[in-house]
Assembly symmetry: C2
Homo-oligomer: 98 residues x 2
DNA sequence: TAAAGTACTTTGTAAAATAAAGTATTATAT
DNA sequence: ATATAATACTTTATTTTACAAAGTACTTTA
């Protein structure tokens, strides 16, 4: 297929909010819900939904624990997620570079 | 704001199909409806809607004429569209590099 | 002249993104 | 003590978007 084939772009990653989440998480070993929320500039509800989606796709892993009696969710990217992101980037770069 | 702020991504360009359309059109001076359809691998209806959206944003210009008694729509990117695409790319690159 | 093809546009539907509201708990002020 | 605000989320409802199906207006071919 053509390099311009839009269906070749992984839409699980491509959504603005999910792309930002993943880009943030590939740059560090892990991040909490609140940290992601602040960096990505998302609302709680919206973030929750998209983190769940990425988790269900096994692109992200979560650890849920209580710290000082409060819930704390820590997210990190999986191998599958990292590979999907690499392949996504390759597609996008082929698309935008000349 | 953070480089990871998802709302900083131009969503008019970001949609998979519109990104593909624009990427195709920055690489050449113009393309017909059918040409875009084939390269981008889109259905007629879907393509029509998104071309219209880009046209209304003044990212694309259209010339509609009859050639051999048949309608022929020829699309090209505008200065505004080209600039928006450049700025979009800068955002995405800041997001995905390292 | 009937059927198939081209080049689209319009309209309806499904899916996705987002916002609003809700849950559960803790911390703080009165 | 208890009401208020804050934290850290999840669930549900609403809006928006993407997409597909159907429609229009022809032309070409059989």
């Amino acid at each position: 297929m053509s390099q311009y084939d839009y269906q070749a772009i992984d839409d699980l990653i491509h959504s603005r909010i999910r792309l930002s989440i993943i880009a943030l998480l590939v740059s560090r070993s892990a991040a909490t819900f609140t940290c992601i929320k602040n960096r990505v500039n998302a609302s709680d509800g919206n973030l929750s939904v998209h983190l769940r989606k990425l988790e269900q796709a096994n692109y992200l892993a979560v650890e849920k624990q209580f710290i000082k009696r409060k819930p704390l969710s820590t997210y990190s990217i999986t191998e599958k997620g990292r590979k999907a992101f690499q392949s996504y980037i390759q597609h996008i770069e082929a698309l935008i570079n000349r």
